[in-house]
Symmetry: C2
Subunit: 354 residues, 2 copies
C-alpha cells in the first residue's frame, strides 16, 4: 500500500455552471504531487489544495523543456459512479515518454492510486451533464535550478483536474482539417511519439495557419518526405477507403493514442477490416477522386471520435461523406461513449469504477 498524505482545502471554490465549462479553464480543489530528488528517488506523494507552484527562475523547465504529460478523463456513469477509462495505459505511456526525455520512471501503481484518491476527494467536481467530464492532466516538470544542459536532478510529478464541457455543443459536427505541407511536427528519431511540451509548441504555427484559413486543426505529414500521413493536432486519424479502415502505423513519430488503440480493438471485435500501415496523402487524394474515400475521423481523449467533413491539401478541398458523420464513426462514437458513461457493458476490461 502507498502512504499518500492528504491535506484538504479549508476554502473550497465555487463550481462553474455546466454551460460555462469549456475546456481547461477551471480547476478542482485539490492536486496530487510527488517529488523527485537525485539520490532519493520519487518521494512524498501527497494530495494538497490546488495552489501555485513556486520555482527558481533558473528551473530547467523554463529553459530546456524537459517535461512530459498525459491527458485522460473521469466520467459520471448512468449509475452515478465515477469512472476512469484505461488510466493504467496513460501511466504506461507517461513512462515511455519519460524514457525518451531522460526523466526517471514513476511507479505506475502509485500514480494510479494517487489519481484514484484525488478523484475520490474531488468527486463532486466531475460534471454530469451529457458529454461533460473531468479532464485529468498528469505532468512532470524538471525543477533543478541550473542552466547546464543535462537531465534535471529534480522533478515534480503533478496531477491537476479540470471540469470540461462537451466537445460537441450541438451534436457531432464534422470538422474541417488543413493538411500542412510546410511546417513539420515531428520526425523519426525525434520526440514525436512522446507526449512532451516541445511537440505542441512546435505545432502552434501550423495551427495558427489552419485557424487563419478557417480550419479547426492541422493534419501533419511525415518530416522526412512530407508525404505520409501522421496525425492531427490532438488526435490520431483514420480513413475508411473502400470498406477498409486504415490508420497510420505507429512509426516512432506519432503519438500512440489510447483511443486509437481502443478503436482498433473495437473494429476488430466487430469484424470490420482495419489496417495499421503507412498511408500517403496521395492515396487519400486518389481515393477521394475515385469516390472510395468513405469516412475520415479522428480519435482522442478530448475529441472522442471526431468526424472530418473536409480535408484541404494544397488547393484541393475534399468534401467527405457530404460533410456528415459516417456509419463507422457513429458506431465508434456510440461504443466509446457508451463504455465511458457506463451505458454499455465493458467486455474489454477497460473501465475502472471508483
Amino acid at each position: 500500500m502507498f502512504d499518500i498524505k492528504t491535506e484538504l482545502t479549508t476554502n473550497p471554490k465555487e463550481k462553474p455552471a455546466p454551460e460555462e465549462l469549456g475546456f481547461g479553464h477551471f480547476f478542482s480543489d485539490h492536486m496530487f504531487i510527488l517529488d523527485y530528488t537525485d539520490g532519493v528517488g520519487w518521494h512524498d506523494p501527497r494530495i494538497v489544495p490546488y495552489q501555485p507552484i513556486s520555482l527558481d527562475p533558473s528551473a530547467m523547465i523554463f529553459h530546456y523543456g524537459q517535461s512530459v504529460f498525459e491527458g485522460l478523463k473521469a466520467y459520471v456513469t448512468v449509475d452515478n459512479d465515477a469512472l476512469l477509462f484505461r488510466a493504467d495505459q496513460n501511466f504506461k505511456r507517461l513512462n515511455r515518454s519519460n524514457e525518451r526525455l531522460c526523466i526517471p520512471a514513476i511507479d505506475e501503481e502509485l500514480a494510479l492510486e494517487g489519481l484514484k484518491q484525488l478523484v475520490t476527494v474531488d468527486r463532486d467536481w466531475i460534471p454530469n451533464n451529457p458529454g461533460t467530464s473531468l479532464y485529468i492532466r498528469p505532468f512532470i516538470i524538471a525543477t533543478e535550478p541550473n542552466l547546464g544542459v543535462h537531465p534535471s536532478k529534480k522533478y515534480h510529478f503533478i496531477i491537476i483536474m479540470s471540469p470540461s464541457g462537451s466537445y460537441y455543443k450541438e451534436g457531432i459536427n464534422p470538422v474541417k482539417i488543413l493538411v500542412e505541407e510546410q511546417f513539420v511536427r515531428a520526425v523519426k528519431g525525434g520526440t514525436g511519439e512522446a507526449k512532451t511540451g516541445g511537440n505542441y509548441a512546435s505545432a502552434l504555427k501550423g495551427q495558427e495557419i489552419a485557424s487563419r484559413e478557417g480550419y479547426a486543426q492541422t493534419l501533419w505529414l511525415d518530416g522526412k518526405e512530407n508525404k505520409y500521413i501522421e496525425e492531427v493536432g490532438s488526435m490520431n486519424i483514420f480513413f475508411k477507403i473502400n470498406g477498409i479502415v486504415i490508420t497510420p502505423a505507429l512509426n516512432g513519430s506519432i503519438l500512440p493514442g489510447i483511443t486509437r488503440d481502443s478503436m482498433i480493438q473495437v473494429l476488430k471485435f466487430k469484424g470490420i477490416p482495419v489496417e495499421e500501415r503507412q498511408i500517403s496523402i496521395d492515396e487519400v487524394v486518389e481515393a477521394h477522386q475515385n469516390g472510395t474515400l468513405e469516412e475520415v475521423f479522428g480519435t482522442g481523449t478530448a475529441a472522442v471520435i471526431s468526424p472530418v467533413g473536409e480535408l484541404k491539401y494544397l488547393d484541393d478541398k475534399m468534401s467527405i461523406n457530404k460533410g456528415e458523420i459516417g456509419e463507422i464513426s457513429q458506431m465508434l462514437y456510440d461504443t466509446l461513449t457508451g463504455l465511458q458513461y457506463g451505458s454499455i457493458d465493458d467486455t474489454f476490461g477497460w473501465t475502472i469504477r471508483l
Copy 2:
C-alpha cells in the same frame, strides 16, 4: 527613453569564489522582468531582486513548452570596463524564435536597455579571473493558466545572470564528439532554427548516449536523410578541409549562431577561404581518410572556440590534427577572446562598453 523601475535587494548574496564558479549554478542579486498580457501588450519593465516565480500549475509553460531563450555574456575588459558582445543580435534572434513559437515580439531596444541597466546594477557580479564571465540568460515563458493548445495570452520575459568559470580549466583541450545516427535533434519545417526548450529536451537522449561512451557532445545529422551535418549540442561546427573552412549553411534546422556569424566575418576579413554550404558526414570521413581534414572546431557563446580532437561516426574514430588545437582555431580563439576582453581593437563594431 524607457521607464524601467528598479527595486534593489536589501539582502545581497555572498559571491562565490572564482574557482567554484562552474556553469549556471550561481545567480546574481537582481533580475529583469517584463510582462505580456493579451490586449495590453508587453508592459511593466522592472529590475527586482532575484526571486522565485510563482505560477498556476496549469500555466502553459508546464504543458506545451511555449518558450524561447537566449544566451550571451558580459565580460570585464583589461581596462576594467563591463563589455557586452553583439547583444543586439541576441534580441534579434529572440524575436525570430518568438515568430516561430507564436510568441509576440519584444521591443529589442527595451530589452537591450533593460539588460544594460541590469548589468550595471550587478556589475560586481562579473567575475574577472582569466576566461570567466557573467553568463546572461534572457528567456520568455507562456504563463496563461489554461490547458487549451493555443498560443498563450500571457508571458513573462525575464533576464537572469550567472557568473561562470572558464570553459577551459587547463588551457584549451580539444573535445571528443560523437556523431549521432539514430536520434534526431531537428528537421526542416520544425523548430531547429529557433532557440526553444523543446530542441534541447529532444537532444538530451543523444547527449546521454555520447556521455556514456565518453564523448563530450553530440554532432547532429539532418533529420531527413541522416547524412548532412547540422551542429553540435550547443555550438555550430566548422571543418577545415584542404585549406578551406566549411560550415553547414543555415538551412532552417540549425541555430544561426552569433559566434558562427562573427567567425565567418573574421575569416573573410583575414582572407581565409570560408564556405557556408551543405556538407555530408561522408565528405568529412573521406577527407579524414585522404588526409585533408585539417581542423574541426565548434563555435558558441559558452564554448567560445572549441577544437575537436576526435570525431566518432559509427565504428570509425577519427583523430583530428593529432588531438591538438589547429592554427585557424587558435587564431579565431585569440581574436574572439581579444575582442571580448578588450585587448584587441574592435574594428567590427561588435562590442558595447558600459
